[in-house]
Protein backbone atom coordinates (compact mmCIF):
# COMPACT_ATOMS: atom_id res chain seq x y z
CA UNK A 1 0.00 0.00 0.00
CA UNK A 2 2.73 2.41 0.90
CA UNK A 3 0.33 4.93 2.36
CA UNK A 4 1.60 4.64 5.85
CA UNK A 5 5.09 4.81 7.10
CA UNK A 6 5.32 2.08 9.63
CA UNK A 7 6.71 -1.30 10.22
CA UNK A 8 5.44 -4.17 8.17
CA UNK A 9 3.66 -5.45 11.22
CA UNK A 10 1.86 -2.19 11.65
CA UNK A 11 0.58 -1.97 8.11
CA UNK A 12 -0.70 -5.48 8.22
CA UNK A 13 -2.50 -4.75 11.46
CA UNK A 14 -4.41 -1.84 10.07
CA UNK A 15 -6.60 -3.26 7.39
CA UNK A 16 -9.40 -0.88 8.21
CA UNK A 17 -7.56 1.95 6.52
CA UNK A 18 -7.66 0.08 3.30
CA UNK A 19 -11.36 0.88 3.10
CA UNK A 20 -10.60 4.51 2.51
CA UNK A 21 -7.66 4.28 0.17
CA UNK A 22 -5.06 6.88 -0.64
CA UNK A 23 -7.55 9.66 -0.52
CA UNK A 24 -7.17 9.62 3.23
CA UNK A 25 -3.53 10.55 3.48
CA UNK A 26 -3.70 13.31 0.86
CA UNK A 27 -6.98 14.96 1.80
CA UNK A 28 -6.41 14.55 5.47
CA UNK A 29 -2.98 16.11 5.26
CA UNK A 30 -4.39 19.11 3.41
CA UNK A 31 -7.17 19.59 5.94
CA UNK A 32 -4.69 19.19 8.76
CA UNK A 33 -2.37 21.81 7.40
CA UNK A 34 -5.27 24.20 6.83
CA UNK A 35 -6.41 23.77 10.41
CA UNK A 36 -2.92 24.28 11.74
CA UNK A 37 -2.59 27.41 9.63
CA UNK A 38 -5.88 28.70 11.00
CA UNK A 39 -4.79 28.19 14.59
CA UNK A 40 -1.41 29.74 13.87
CA UNK A 41 -3.08 32.72 12.30
CA UNK A 42 -5.36 33.12 15.31
CA UNK A 43 -2.42 33.00 17.70
CA UNK A 44 -0.34 35.45 15.67
CA UNK A 45 -3.25 37.81 15.31
CA UNK A 46 -3.81 37.72 19.07
CA UNK A 47 -0.13 38.24 19.74
CA UNK A 48 -0.09 41.27 17.45
CA UNK A 49 -3.30 42.50 18.98
CA UNK A 50 -1.88 42.67 22.47
CA UNK A 51 1.56 41.19 22.88
CA UNK A 52 1.75 41.72 26.63
CA UNK A 53 -1.52 39.99 27.17
CA UNK A 54 -0.33 37.17 24.97
CA UNK A 55 2.86 36.79 26.96
CA UNK A 56 1.01 36.79 30.28
CA UNK A 57 -1.47 34.21 29.15
CA UNK A 58 1.31 32.06 27.74
CA UNK A 59 3.05 32.10 31.11
CA UNK A 60 -0.19 31.01 32.75
CA UNK A 61 -0.40 28.25 30.19
CA UNK A 62 3.03 26.98 31.17
CA UNK A 63 2.16 27.08 34.85
CA UNK A 64 -1.13 25.22 34.52
CA UNK A 65 0.36 22.91 31.92
CA UNK A 66 3.04 21.84 34.39
CA UNK A 67 0.39 20.43 36.68
CA UNK A 68 -1.36 18.61 33.86
CA UNK A 69 1.99 17.25 32.74
CA UNK A 70 2.83 15.86 36.18
CA UNK A 71 -0.49 14.10 36.43
CA UNK A 72 -0.50 12.95 32.80
CA UNK A 73 2.75 11.04 33.27
CA UNK A 74 1.14 8.87 35.91
CA UNK A 75 -1.57 7.90 33.45
CA UNK A 76 0.91 7.18 30.74
CA UNK A 77 3.14 5.04 32.96
CA UNK A 78 0.27 2.90 34.13
CA UNK A 79 -1.33 2.69 30.73
CA UNK A 80 2.00 1.78 29.19
CA UNK A 81 2.44 -1.17 31.49
CA UNK A 82 -1.11 -2.42 32.08
CA UNK A 83 -3.12 -0.87 29.23
CA UNK A 84 -5.44 0.34 31.96
CA UNK A 85 -6.97 3.80 32.12
CA UNK A 86 -6.35 4.33 35.80
CA UNK A 87 -9.34 6.52 36.52
CA UNK A 88 -8.36 6.71 40.17
CA UNK A 89 -5.18 8.55 39.31
CA UNK A 90 -6.81 11.97 39.30
CA UNK A 91 -8.01 11.29 42.82
CA UNK A 92 -4.55 10.27 43.92
CA UNK A 93 -3.56 13.72 42.73
CA UNK A 94 -6.34 15.23 44.87
CA UNK A 95 -4.97 13.36 47.85
CA UNK A 96 -1.58 14.90 47.13
CA UNK A 97 -3.09 18.35 47.35
CA UNK A 98 -4.97 17.53 50.54
CA UNK A 99 -1.97 15.94 52.25
CA UNK A 100 0.06 19.01 51.37
CA UNK A 101 -2.64 21.08 53.00
CA UNK A 102 -2.63 18.95 56.13
CA UNK A 103 1.11 18.73 56.51
CA UNK A 104 2.37 22.09 55.32
CA UNK A 105 -0.51 24.33 56.28
CA UNK A 106 -2.46 22.73 59.10
CA UNK A 107 0.38 21.09 61.02
CA UNK A 108 3.44 23.10 60.17
CA UNK A 109 1.64 26.39 59.65
CA UNK A 110 3.37 27.36 56.43
CA UNK A 111 1.40 30.57 55.97
CA UNK A 112 2.98 32.03 59.10
CA UNK A 113 6.54 31.63 57.89
CA UNK A 114 8.84 32.98 55.26
CA UNK A 115 12.34 32.50 53.97
CA UNK A 116 14.24 29.37 54.96
CA UNK A 117 11.55 28.21 57.39
CA UNK A 118 8.93 28.35 54.66
CA UNK A 119 11.25 26.56 52.30
CA UNK A 120 11.79 23.82 54.85
CA UNK A 121 8.11 23.41 55.56
CA UNK A 122 7.30 23.24 51.88
CA UNK A 123 10.04 20.68 51.32
CA UNK A 124 8.55 18.51 54.06
CA UNK A 125 5.11 18.94 52.50
CA UNK A 126 6.44 17.98 49.09
CA UNK A 127 8.12 14.84 50.35
CA UNK A 128 5.07 13.82 52.38
CA UNK A 129 2.72 14.35 49.46
CA UNK A 130 4.93 12.42 47.08
CA UNK A 131 5.48 9.54 49.50
CA UNK A 132 1.85 9.37 50.51
CA UNK A 133 0.59 9.33 46.94
CA UNK A 134 3.19 6.81 45.83
CA UNK A 135 2.08 4.51 48.64
CA UNK A 136 -1.57 5.17 47.94
CA UNK A 137 -1.25 4.41 44.25
CA UNK A 138 0.67 1.23 44.98
CA UNK A 139 -1.96 0.22 47.50
CA UNK A 140 -4.69 0.79 44.94
CA UNK A 141 -2.85 -1.42 42.50
CA UNK A 142 -2.30 -4.10 45.11
CA UNK A 143 -5.87 -4.12 46.35
CA UNK A 144 -7.90 -3.45 43.27
CA UNK A 145 -5.99 -4.24 40.11
CA UNK A 146 -3.53 -7.03 40.79
CA UNK A 147 -6.17 -9.67 41.27
CA UNK A 148 -7.74 -8.69 37.98
CA UNK A 149 -4.64 -9.04 35.87
CA UNK A 150 -6.11 -11.94 33.94
CA UNK A 151 -9.74 -10.87 34.15
CA UNK A 152 -11.75 -9.65 31.14
CA UNK A 153 -10.27 -6.45 29.83
CA UNK A 154 -12.96 -4.08 31.03
CA UNK A 155 -13.15 -5.40 34.58
CA UNK A 156 -10.13 -3.42 35.82
CA UNK A 157 -11.48 -0.32 34.08
CA UNK A 158 -14.70 -0.45 36.06
CA UNK A 159 -12.72 -1.22 39.19
CA UNK A 160 -10.64 1.87 38.50
CA UNK A 161 -13.79 3.94 38.26
CA UNK A 162 -14.98 2.45 41.53
CA UNK A 163 -11.63 3.24 43.14
CA UNK A 164 -11.94 6.78 41.88
CA UNK A 165 -15.27 7.14 43.70
CA UNK A 166 -13.77 5.61 46.80
CA UNK A 167 -10.67 7.80 46.87
CA UNK A 168 -12.45 11.07 46.17
CA UNK A 169 -15.16 10.36 48.71
CA UNK A 170 -12.65 9.37 51.31
CA UNK A 171 -11.33 12.88 50.93
CA UNK A 172 -14.85 14.11 51.58
CA UNK A 173 -15.04 11.93 54.68
CA UNK A 174 -11.76 13.31 56.02
CA UNK A 175 -11.91 16.92 54.86
CA UNK A 176 -15.61 17.44 54.19
CA UNK A 177 -17.28 18.40 50.95
CA UNK A 178 -16.15 22.01 51.00
CA UNK A 179 -12.92 23.57 49.88
CA UNK A 180 -9.92 23.73 52.10
CA UNK A 181 -8.17 26.96 51.41
CA UNK A 182 -5.24 29.02 52.60
CA UNK A 183 -3.74 32.41 52.10
CA UNK A 184 -1.05 32.65 49.43
CA UNK A 185 2.01 30.83 50.76
CA UNK A 186 4.61 32.27 48.51
CA UNK A 187 5.51 35.90 48.12
CA UNK A 188 3.58 37.27 45.18
CA UNK A 189 5.97 40.14 44.72
CA UNK A 190 7.11 40.56 41.16
CA UNK A 191 10.22 38.89 39.88
CA UNK A 192 9.45 40.80 36.72
CA UNK A 193 6.34 42.44 35.35
CA UNK A 194 4.62 42.39 32.01
CA UNK A 195 2.12 45.12 31.39
CA UNK A 196 1.81 45.78 35.09
CA UNK A 197 1.19 42.13 35.87
CA UNK A 198 3.60 40.45 38.21
CA UNK A 199 5.35 37.16 37.58
CA UNK A 200 6.08 36.09 41.11
CA UNK A 201 7.63 33.28 43.09
CA UNK A 202 4.30 31.48 43.23
CA UNK A 203 4.47 30.88 39.50
CA UNK A 204 8.16 30.34 39.29
CA UNK A 205 8.08 27.63 41.93
CA UNK A 206 5.79 25.60 39.72
CA UNK A 207 8.51 25.44 37.10
CA UNK A 208 11.26 25.10 39.70
CA UNK A 209 9.59 21.92 40.90
CA UNK A 210 8.21 20.55 37.66
CA UNK A 211 11.27 20.76 35.46
CA UNK A 212 13.70 18.98 37.82
CA UNK A 213 11.00 16.42 38.57
CA UNK A 214 10.55 15.65 34.90
CA UNK A 215 14.29 15.45 34.33
CA UNK A 216 14.86 13.12 37.24
CA UNK A 217 11.93 11.01 36.13
CA UNK A 218 13.53 10.56 32.73
CA UNK A 219 16.75 9.49 34.43
CA UNK A 220 14.93 7.06 36.71
CA UNK A 221 13.10 5.48 33.82
CA UNK A 222 16.06 5.34 31.47
CA UNK A 223 18.88 4.48 33.79
CA UNK A 224 17.81 2.76 36.97
CA UNK A 225 17.37 -0.95 37.39
CA UNK A 226 13.67 -0.77 38.17
CA UNK A 227 13.09 1.91 35.59
CA UNK A 228 14.42 -0.48 33.01
CA UNK A 229 12.46 -3.36 34.48
CA UNK A 230 9.34 -1.23 34.20
CA UNK A 231 9.98 -0.42 30.57
CA UNK A 232 10.76 -4.04 29.80
CA UNK A 233 7.55 -5.17 31.46
CA UNK A 234 5.58 -2.59 29.52
CA UNK A 235 7.02 -3.80 26.24
CA UNK A 236 6.83 -7.52 26.76
CA UNK A 237 5.63 -8.94 30.00
CA UNK A 238 6.51 -12.56 29.28
CA UNK A 239 10.00 -11.74 28.15
CA UNK A 240 10.43 -9.61 31.25
CA UNK A 241 9.55 -12.64 33.35
CA UNK A 242 12.12 -14.67 31.48
CA UNK A 243 14.72 -12.09 32.40
CA UNK A 244 13.95 -12.79 36.03
CA UNK A 245 12.07 -9.53 36.51
CA UNK A 246 9.41 -9.64 39.20
CA UNK A 247 6.66 -8.31 36.99
CA UNK A 248 4.41 -7.50 39.92
CA UNK A 249 7.12 -5.38 41.43
CA UNK A 250 7.80 -3.63 38.15
CA UNK A 251 4.10 -2.78 37.87
CA UNK A 252 4.01 -1.63 41.47
CA UNK A 253 7.03 0.51 40.69
CA UNK A 254 5.16 2.17 37.82
CA UNK A 255 2.26 2.89 40.13
CA UNK A 256 4.59 4.21 42.80
CA UNK A 257 6.37 6.47 40.37
CA UNK A 258 3.11 7.75 38.88
CA UNK A 259 1.71 8.26 42.36
CA UNK A 260 4.74 10.23 43.45
CA UNK A 261 4.38 12.49 40.43
CA UNK A 262 0.69 12.94 41.14
CA UNK A 263 1.61 13.81 44.72
CA UNK A 264 4.09 16.39 43.51
CA UNK A 265 1.41 17.68 41.15
CA UNK A 266 -0.99 17.93 44.07
CA UNK A 267 1.63 19.78 46.08
CA UNK A 268 2.26 22.22 43.28
CA UNK A 269 -1.47 22.71 42.82
CA UNK A 270 -2.06 23.51 46.45
CA UNK A 271 0.93 25.78 46.79
CA UNK A 272 0.05 27.69 43.64
CA UNK A 273 -3.75 27.77 43.74
CA UNK A 274 -3.95 27.49 47.56
CA UNK A 275 -7.18 25.52 47.65
CA UNK A 276 -8.54 22.07 47.05
CA UNK A 277 -11.59 19.91 47.36
CA UNK A 278 -12.58 16.26 47.13
CA UNK A 279 -13.58 16.49 43.47
CA UNK A 280 -10.45 18.32 42.39
CA UNK A 281 -9.09 15.32 40.56
CA UNK A 282 -12.03 14.86 38.27
CA UNK A 283 -11.39 17.58 35.75
CA UNK A 284 -7.62 17.60 36.21
CA UNK A 285 -7.58 13.85 35.81
CA UNK A 286 -9.74 13.99 32.70
CA UNK A 287 -7.52 16.60 31.11
CA UNK A 288 -4.36 14.86 32.21
CA UNK A 289 -5.46 11.61 30.68
CA UNK A 290 -6.38 13.47 27.52
CA UNK A 291 -2.91 14.98 27.62
CA UNK A 292 -1.38 11.53 27.86
CA UNK A 293 -3.34 10.37 24.82
CA UNK A 294 -2.57 13.56 22.91
CA UNK A 295 1.14 13.06 23.45
CA UNK A 296 1.01 9.40 22.56
CA UNK A 297 0.16 7.12 25.38
CA UNK A 298 3.05 5.26 26.93
CA UNK A 299 5.40 8.06 25.99
CA UNK A 300 6.56 10.14 28.94
CA UNK A 301 7.75 13.13 26.94
CA UNK A 302 4.52 12.99 24.98
CA UNK A 303 2.47 13.14 28.15
CA UNK A 304 4.36 16.18 29.34
CA UNK A 305 3.96 17.82 25.95
CA UNK A 306 0.23 17.04 25.96
CA UNK A 307 -0.07 18.53 29.43
CA UNK A 308 1.50 21.78 28.36
CA UNK A 309 -0.60 21.84 25.21
CA UNK A 310 -3.78 21.62 27.26
CA UNK A 311 -2.49 24.25 29.66
CA UNK A 312 -2.03 26.56 26.68
CA UNK A 313 -5.44 25.83 25.20
CA UNK A 314 -7.14 26.47 28.50
CA UNK A 315 -5.43 29.77 29.05
CA UNK A 316 -5.43 31.06 25.50
CA UNK A 317 -9.09 30.29 25.29
CA UNK A 318 -9.99 32.19 28.42
CA UNK A 319 -7.40 34.95 28.31
CA UNK A 320 -7.03 36.01 24.69
CA UNK A 321 -9.40 38.68 23.57
CA UNK A 322 -9.44 38.40 19.80
CA UNK A 323 -12.13 35.88 18.81
CA UNK A 324 -11.54 33.41 21.60
CA UNK A 325 -14.52 31.12 22.17
CA UNK A 326 -14.33 31.73 25.92
CA UNK A 327 -13.90 29.49 28.93
CA UNK A 328 -17.27 27.84 28.56
CA UNK A 329 -15.94 26.07 25.48
CA UNK A 330 -12.58 24.96 26.89
CA UNK A 331 -13.55 21.36 27.42
CA UNK A 332 -14.98 21.10 23.93
CA UNK A 333 -11.86 22.59 22.41
CA UNK A 334 -9.60 20.22 24.28
CA UNK A 335 -11.58 17.23 23.15
CA UNK A 336 -11.94 18.48 19.59
CA UNK A 337 -8.18 18.84 19.47
CA UNK A 338 -7.87 15.32 20.83
CA UNK A 339 -10.18 13.94 18.18
CA UNK A 340 -8.38 15.81 15.41
CA UNK A 341 -4.98 14.65 16.55
CA UNK A 342 -6.12 11.07 16.77
CA UNK A 343 -7.65 11.29 13.31
CA UNK A 344 -4.47 12.73 11.83
CA UNK A 345 -1.96 10.92 14.00
CA UNK A 346 -3.68 7.87 15.45
CA UNK A 347 -0.93 7.25 17.96
CA UNK A 348 -0.71 10.75 19.31
CA UNK A 349 1.94 13.39 18.81
CA UNK A 350 4.98 11.43 19.92
CA UNK A 351 3.46 7.98 20.19
CA UNK A 352 4.81 4.93 18.53
CA UNK A 353 2.46 2.35 17.20
CA UNK A 354 1.20 0.16 19.99
CA UNK A 355 1.30 -2.77 17.66
CA UNK A 356 5.06 -3.00 17.99
CA UNK A 357 4.41 -4.57 21.34
CA UNK A 358 3.83 -8.24 20.99
Amino acid sequence: MGTSVGTAAETSRRPSFALVPRLRSRAVAVVGILLLALVAFWLVENAVHDIRQFALVSLNGITNGSIYALVAIGYTLVYGILELINFAHGDVFSWGAMITYSVAISWLGASGHSGIALFGILAVGLVCAALFCATLNMAVERVAYRRLRNAPRLAPLITAIGMSFVLSNLIAVVYGFNYVSSEPLLPRGALFTIGGQAYGWDKLIVLLITVPTLVSLMIVVKRTRWGKAMRATAQNRDAARLMGIDVDRAIAFAFGLGGALAGIGGFVYLVYFTQGRFDLGFRIGLFAFTAAVLGGIGNILGAALGGYLIGFIENYNSGLTWHAPGPSWTESLVFILLILILVFRPHGLLGESLSTRS
Binding site: R225, A232, A239, L242, S358
Partner: protein
Amino acid sequence: MTANGGQPLLELEDVQVFYGAIHALKGVSLRVDDGQIVTLIGANGAGKSTTLRTISGLLRPRTGSMRFDGKDIVRASSQRIVRFGIAQAPEGRQLFSRMTVLENLEMGAFQRSDRREIAADLDRVYELFPRLAERQAQKAGTLSGGEQQMCAIGRALLARPRLLMLDEPSMGLSPNLVDRIFEVIADINRQGTTVLLVEQNAARALEIADRGYVLETGRVTLADSAAALRSNERVRASYLGES
Protein backbone atom coordinates in the same frame (compact mmCIF):
# COMPACT_ATOMS: atom_id res chain seq x y z
CA MET B 1 20.79 -44.71 31.85
CA THR B 2 22.69 -41.60 30.82
CA ALA B 3 24.82 -41.72 27.77
CA ASN B 4 27.47 -39.25 28.81
CA GLY B 5 27.32 -40.03 32.48
CA GLY B 6 26.62 -36.43 33.71
CA GLN B 7 24.63 -35.47 36.76
CA PRO B 8 20.94 -34.77 36.14
CA LEU B 9 20.58 -30.97 36.03
CA LEU B 10 16.89 -30.76 35.18
CA GLU B 11 14.33 -33.46 35.76
CA LEU B 12 10.66 -33.35 34.85
CA GLU B 13 8.36 -36.10 35.99
CA ASP B 14 4.82 -36.59 34.80
CA VAL B 15 4.21 -32.87 34.28
CA GLN B 16 0.64 -32.03 33.28
CA VAL B 17 -0.36 -28.60 32.09
CA PHE B 18 -3.75 -27.30 31.15
CA TYR B 19 -4.85 -24.29 29.15
CA GLY B 20 -8.34 -24.03 30.51
CA ALA B 21 -10.02 -27.17 29.33
CA ILE B 22 -7.21 -27.98 26.92
CA HIS B 23 -4.87 -30.61 28.25
CA ALA B 24 -1.64 -29.29 26.78
CA LEU B 25 0.92 -31.52 28.49
CA LYS B 26 -0.35 -34.94 29.42
CA GLY B 27 2.47 -36.11 31.60
CA VAL B 28 5.86 -35.12 30.31
CA SER B 29 8.95 -36.64 31.90
CA LEU B 30 12.38 -35.69 30.77
CA ARG B 31 15.83 -35.15 32.07
CA VAL B 32 18.71 -32.95 31.04
CA ASP B 33 22.15 -33.87 32.27
CA ASP B 34 24.81 -31.39 33.12
CA GLY B 35 26.83 -30.38 30.11
CA GLN B 36 24.55 -31.93 27.53
CA ILE B 37 22.57 -30.59 24.65
CA VAL B 38 19.10 -32.06 24.83
CA THR B 39 16.58 -31.45 22.12
CA LEU B 40 12.82 -31.64 22.09
CA ILE B 41 11.37 -32.36 18.71
CA GLY B 42 7.82 -32.65 17.60
CA ALA B 43 5.15 -31.27 15.37
CA ASN B 44 3.42 -27.94 15.79
CA GLY B 45 1.27 -27.94 18.87
CA ALA B 46 2.91 -31.00 20.34
CA GLY B 47 3.68 -29.06 23.51
CA LYS B 48 7.35 -28.20 23.04
CA SER B 49 7.01 -24.51 23.80
CA THR B 50 4.57 -25.25 26.58
CA THR B 51 7.21 -27.45 28.19
CA LEU B 52 9.78 -24.66 28.08
CA ARG B 53 7.29 -22.09 29.36
CA THR B 54 6.42 -24.42 32.21
CA ILE B 55 10.06 -24.92 33.15
CA SER B 56 10.53 -21.13 33.13
CA GLY B 57 7.63 -20.68 35.48
CA LEU B 58 5.36 -18.86 33.03
CA LEU B 59 2.89 -21.73 33.29
CA ARG B 60 2.12 -23.77 36.31
CA PRO B 61 1.78 -27.55 36.06
CA ARG B 62 -1.29 -29.04 37.62
CA THR B 63 0.55 -32.17 38.66
CA GLY B 64 4.04 -33.54 38.37
CA SER B 65 7.41 -32.59 39.69
CA MET B 66 10.20 -30.48 38.30
CA ARG B 67 13.65 -30.44 39.86
CA PHE B 68 16.57 -28.30 38.87
CA ASP B 69 19.90 -29.09 40.37
CA GLY B 70 18.12 -31.01 43.08
CA LYS B 71 15.76 -28.14 43.96
CA ASP B 72 12.03 -28.34 43.50
CA ILE B 73 10.97 -25.65 41.04
CA VAL B 74 7.30 -26.50 40.61
CA ARG B 75 6.18 -23.70 42.87
CA ALA B 76 9.04 -21.32 42.17
CA SER B 77 8.33 -17.95 40.58
CA SER B 78 9.90 -17.22 37.24
CA GLN B 79 12.37 -14.81 38.78
CA ARG B 80 13.57 -17.46 41.20
CA ILE B 81 13.94 -19.90 38.37
CA VAL B 82 16.13 -17.42 36.55
CA ARG B 83 18.14 -17.01 39.73
CA PHE B 84 18.62 -20.78 39.91
CA GLY B 85 20.26 -20.56 36.51
CA ILE B 86 17.70 -21.25 33.82
CA ALA B 87 17.45 -18.77 30.97
CA GLN B 88 15.31 -18.97 27.88
CA ALA B 89 15.45 -17.44 24.45
CA PRO B 90 11.76 -17.73 23.73
CA GLU B 91 9.97 -18.55 20.54
CA GLY B 92 9.53 -15.51 18.33
CA ARG B 93 12.48 -13.83 20.07
CA GLN B 94 10.27 -11.60 22.27
CA LEU B 95 12.75 -8.76 22.34
CA PHE B 96 11.99 -5.45 24.02
CA SER B 97 11.44 -3.80 20.70
CA ARG B 98 11.63 -0.20 21.87
CA MET B 99 14.86 -0.72 23.74
CA THR B 100 18.27 -0.70 22.13
CA VAL B 101 20.20 -3.88 21.51
CA LEU B 102 22.52 -3.03 24.37
CA GLU B 103 19.61 -2.42 26.72
CA ASN B 104 18.08 -5.72 25.69
CA LEU B 105 21.30 -7.52 26.46
CA GLU B 106 21.57 -5.73 29.77
CA MET B 107 18.07 -6.82 30.68
CA GLY B 108 19.36 -10.39 30.39
CA ALA B 109 21.67 -9.63 33.29
CA PHE B 110 18.84 -8.13 35.31
CA GLN B 111 19.42 -10.28 38.35
CA ARG B 112 23.16 -9.89 38.39
CA SER B 113 25.06 -7.15 40.11
CA ASP B 114 28.62 -8.14 39.24
CA ARG B 115 29.31 -5.34 36.83
CA ARG B 116 32.72 -6.44 35.77
CA GLU B 117 31.57 -9.95 35.02
CA ILE B 118 28.62 -8.61 33.08
CA ALA B 119 30.91 -6.53 30.96
CA ALA B 120 32.99 -9.61 30.29
CA ASP B 121 29.91 -11.60 29.34
CA LEU B 122 28.81 -8.80 27.08
CA ASP B 123 32.12 -8.95 25.28
CA ARG B 124 31.71 -12.68 24.96
CA VAL B 125 28.30 -12.23 23.35
CA TYR B 126 29.70 -9.61 20.98
CA GLU B 127 32.41 -12.08 20.12
CA LEU B 128 29.83 -14.73 19.33
CA PHE B 129 27.69 -12.26 17.37
CA PRO B 130 29.81 -9.39 16.04
CA ARG B 131 26.72 -8.01 14.31
CA LEU B 132 25.21 -7.16 17.68
CA ALA B 133 28.22 -5.05 18.58
CA GLU B 134 27.71 -3.02 15.43
CA ARG B 135 24.06 -2.48 16.20
CA GLN B 136 24.17 -2.03 19.94
CA ALA B 137 22.64 1.45 19.87
CA GLN B 138 19.86 0.46 17.49
CA LYS B 139 16.27 -0.23 18.63
CA ALA B 140 15.73 -3.95 18.78
CA GLY B 141 12.45 -3.66 16.87
CA THR B 142 14.36 -2.49 13.80
CA LEU B 143 16.70 -5.47 13.60
CA SER B 144 16.45 -8.16 10.96
CA GLY B 145 15.12 -11.57 11.94
CA GLY B 146 18.54 -13.13 12.26
CA GLU B 147 19.91 -10.27 14.27
CA GLN B 148 16.89 -10.46 16.55
CA GLN B 149 17.58 -14.13 17.15
CA MET B 150 21.18 -13.36 17.97
CA CYS B 151 20.04 -10.68 20.34
CA ALA B 152 17.59 -13.06 22.03
CA ILE B 153 20.26 -15.72 22.51
CA GLY B 154 22.76 -13.15 23.67
CA ARG B 155 20.24 -11.77 26.12
CA ALA B 156 19.67 -15.21 27.59
CA LEU B 157 23.41 -15.81 27.81
CA LEU B 158 23.88 -12.65 29.82
CA ALA B 159 21.97 -14.26 32.64
CA ARG B 160 24.99 -16.59 32.74
CA PRO B 161 22.66 -19.58 32.93
CA ARG B 162 23.55 -23.11 33.83
CA LEU B 163 20.76 -24.25 31.56
CA LEU B 164 20.04 -22.36 28.38
CA MET B 165 16.70 -23.09 26.78
CA LEU B 166 16.27 -22.15 23.14
CA ASP B 167 12.87 -22.20 21.53
CA GLU B 168 12.99 -22.56 17.75
CA PRO B 169 16.17 -20.55 17.28
CA SER B 170 16.36 -21.33 13.57
CA MET B 171 12.80 -20.40 12.68
CA GLY B 172 12.49 -18.05 9.77
CA LEU B 173 16.21 -17.68 9.21
CA SER B 174 18.15 -18.07 5.99
CA PRO B 175 20.12 -21.33 5.64
CA ASN B 176 23.38 -19.47 6.19
CA LEU B 177 22.17 -18.03 9.42
CA VAL B 178 20.77 -21.37 10.54
CA ASP B 179 24.23 -22.84 10.17
CA ARG B 180 25.70 -20.02 12.15
CA ILE B 181 23.15 -20.37 14.93
CA PHE B 182 23.76 -24.08 15.33
CA GLU B 183 27.49 -23.49 15.37
CA VAL B 184 27.02 -20.98 18.13
CA ILE B 185 24.82 -23.34 20.13
CA ALA B 186 27.44 -26.03 19.96
CA ASP B 187 30.03 -23.44 20.90
CA ILE B 188 28.07 -22.28 23.92
CA ASN B 189 27.67 -25.85 25.05
CA ARG B 190 31.37 -26.49 24.69
CA GLN B 191 32.04 -23.54 26.97
CA GLY B 192 30.09 -25.38 29.67
CA THR B 193 26.45 -24.34 29.37
CA THR B 194 23.84 -27.05 29.30
CA VAL B 195 21.33 -26.53 26.49
CA LEU B 196 17.71 -27.57 26.12
CA LEU B 197 16.82 -26.99 22.50
CA VAL B 198 13.37 -27.00 20.96
CA GLU B 199 13.50 -27.32 17.22
CA GLN B 200 11.34 -28.09 14.27
CA ASN B 201 14.44 -28.61 12.24
CA ALA B 202 14.89 -32.00 13.85
CA ALA B 203 17.72 -33.10 11.62
CA ARG B 204 19.97 -30.25 12.59
CA ALA B 205 18.98 -30.43 16.22
CA LEU B 206 19.77 -34.10 16.49
CA GLU B 207 23.13 -33.48 14.83
CA ILE B 208 24.41 -31.39 17.67
CA ALA B 209 22.38 -32.89 20.53
CA ASP B 210 23.39 -35.58 22.95
CA ARG B 211 19.88 -36.66 23.72
CA GLY B 212 16.48 -36.12 22.21
CA TYR B 213 12.86 -36.38 23.17
CA VAL B 214 9.99 -36.68 20.74
CA LEU B 215 6.81 -34.97 21.83
CA GLU B 216 3.46 -35.86 20.33
CA THR B 217 0.23 -34.19 21.44
CA GLY B 218 1.50 -33.42 24.88
CA ARG B 219 3.25 -36.72 25.54
CA VAL B 220 6.82 -37.91 25.26
CA THR B 221 6.64 -40.76 22.81
CA LEU B 222 10.31 -41.40 22.35
CA ALA B 223 13.37 -40.68 24.43
CA ASP B 224 16.81 -41.76 23.46
CA SER B 225 20.27 -40.63 22.60
CA ALA B 226 20.40 -38.33 19.61
CA ALA B 227 22.26 -40.88 17.57
CA ALA B 228 19.66 -43.53 18.26
CA LEU B 229 16.86 -41.18 17.35
CA ARG B 230 18.53 -40.23 14.12
CA SER B 231 18.41 -43.83 13.10
CA ASN B 232 14.94 -44.51 14.42
CA GLU B 233 12.52 -45.40 11.65
CA ARG B 234 9.61 -43.42 12.96
CA VAL B 235 11.66 -40.36 13.64
CA ARG B 236 13.15 -40.56 10.19
CA ALA B 237 9.72 -40.82 8.62
CA SER B 238 7.96 -38.17 10.62
CA TYR B 239 10.59 -35.61 11.53
CA LEU B 240 13.57 -35.99 9.30
CA GLY B 241 11.58 -35.93 6.10
CA GLU B 242 12.92 -39.24 4.87
CA SER B 243 10.77 -42.10 3.78
